[in-house]
Point group: C2
Chain length 337, copies 2
């Protein structure tokens, strides 16, 4: 391993000078800088991460806490994780991957040991166990997701409340009066996961305002679960003509089952999905959907975090405005005749 001292010797300067060349915290003459940089190149020097962390009290590592539940839609998590990693690298940070398994202890361990400078908790519950720790910590954090109380926190999320409202409005405008919501798996609601509950709130309050009837049914993914759920929906509200689907792995099953029952989309039934654009476009019917801007969320979270780490940056809640794209799965409600 090449050390700072060896680089210094090779370049004929002191160790501190090399350090200042690297960090740019003091001005260095152009000639010296070049000499040092050449030595670094030639020797293939890489600063030792541990030594740096010890001396500077900064590890240049951001901890990303992903859920390990399998009832969350993986591709979205993955996309966020990749966006976080990519953006972090662009700012000189590496990303440590923590699973939900450790729970709040992970926060203690990581901040206590100085392993990471900052944290990005995902899969935030409304009254998340980690919140007090995050609030009380000197290390900054940015949540991806929205808890009930955001005081003293920085959060990034799609505005799921507005998303729900938007879906309802779209269907209302097309004349639909009876709307069924195919929600996430029951476990997601039992955990009081922020995004799921907020979506529901948005859906409910807007449909109340618009005088629509709303039926919410959580649903595990897959054909069997969807089949049972769908039967129940039409049983309870035969007049249902609009669907809002939030569970990605229920989308395709729903479309197949509707088809199978002879209900045409969008002639008889309209479907609005809340899912990544890619999925909406790859489905068997191009789906009218509100996109989940996974990349954007990951990127924004890191940018907020880096701002905090650099001193500027304040607590704020960034709610990305939902965008509804009309595709082939929604249309005017069938006439009631």
């Amino acid at each position: 391993m090449v050390t700072l001292a060896e680089v210094a010797q090779h370049a004929g300067v002191s160790a501190s000078t090399v350090s200042y060349v690297l960090s740019g915290k003091r001005s260095i003459s152009a000639s010296t800088r070049q000499r040092v940089e050449r030595s670094i190149q030639q020797l293939g020097y890489h600063p030792n991460a541990g030594a740096r962390a010890l001396a500077s009290n900064r590890s240049n590592i951001i901890a990303l806490m992903i859920p390990l539940r399998t009832d969350m839609y993986m591709p979205v998590m993955m996309e966020i994780a990749i966006a976080v990693a990519t953006t972090a690298r662009a700012h000189g940070y590496d990303v440590l991957l923590l699973t939900g398994e450790e729970g709040p202890d992970a926060v203690r361990r990581v901040t206590g040991s100085g392993l990471a400078d900052a944290m990005i908790p995902m899969d935030v519950e409304l009254d998340d166990e980690r919140l007090p720790l995050l609030r009380g910590s000197d290390r900054p954090s940015v949540l991806i997701g929205l808890p009930a109380d955001t005081t003293g926190l920085t959060c990034v999320d799609l505005d799921f409340g507005a998303t729900g409202a938007l879906c309802v409005e779209h269907l209302a405008k097309l004349g639909h009066r009876d709307i069924a919501v195919i929600g996430e798996a029951p476990g997601v609601y039992e955990r009081h996961t922020g995004f799921a509950e907020r979506t529901l709130d948005g859906l409910r309050s807007r449909s109340r305002e618009l005088g629509l009837r709303l039926l919410h049914r959580p649903c595990e993914g897959g054909y069997d679960a969807m089949s049972v759920t769908l039967a129940r929906v039409f049983d309870e509200r035969p007049s249902t003509t609009g669907f809002v689907v939030q569970n990605e792995s229920a989308v395709e099953p729903l479309l197949a089952l509707l088809r199978q029952q002879g209900r045409a989309v969008p002639e008889d039934v309209s479907v609005v999905a809340i899912c990544p654009d890619q999925l909406a476009m790859q489905a068997s019917v191009r789906l009218t959907s509100v996109a989940i801007p996974a990349q954007e969320m990951g990127r924004r979270a890191v940018e907020l975090l880096v701002a905090k780490l650099e001193g500027h940056g304040t607590d704020e809640v960034v709610l990305l405005p939902p965008e509804l794209t009309v595709r082939a799965s929604s249309g005017p409600a069938p006439s009631t005749s």
Copy 2:
């Protein structure tokens, strides 16, 4: 931040004694140990990661290099990543998430800076750029995936050659003679990704041995791409009755399109998928499939790596044997009458 020295003082012992209590590298009397452990508890001590890394030359971090391409099936990657993180934690390691973006430089950076003790490269190409660096490095690594030349390397992967063979055998046994392979996206082959090419080899050589006719078509996911691909297949080989699908996001489109064309599965056409079990069971037709043991791969990789880090552990190639589960998507070939 509580330091080792403070714990030592609190417990009335020297710093080195606390260190030995923590590491267990020298014997400590039961009474002293208890006193120290109680102090650690009371003070809420967490060893500083940087200092530890500097002094011991071990970071207790494993770097996981995931692809950032979107043509790979994300859930599998995610599942592997989570298994890696979970297993690593169980062995006292944390996981650093690196994306493919940096390429081989990531290997240099991470090993050069001592950021990670070991690496797990994923998405391995047959002649991967990273291989020489890994071979020449003093830091151990375990690849998830199989390059062309494995000398001096440790690898874990599903035996994709055997997987291909198994799919063909299954269809052959059912009397199918003309088989179409719906492969991964073209880019995957262009990069010479190990698993895709090995599957193809297995499919081809076994069908040659069994006297079957094989048509391989790469395919992007989604309905449009699948629709075009399928049309070409039946155009070129109208007698096709068996499908092997390796691209997860082509599975559901294929089933829908076949249905739409009035070809019943499995009466007219049999489909064998290479995909995670969950997907096979959630599809609109329960799929006969060879499972991709994502968790197992992640777990095994970490275990091999930990063995190497602890001194025992040798270079070896672990090929997990494929298992084909017969479900509802495959059946006897229709009689040629």
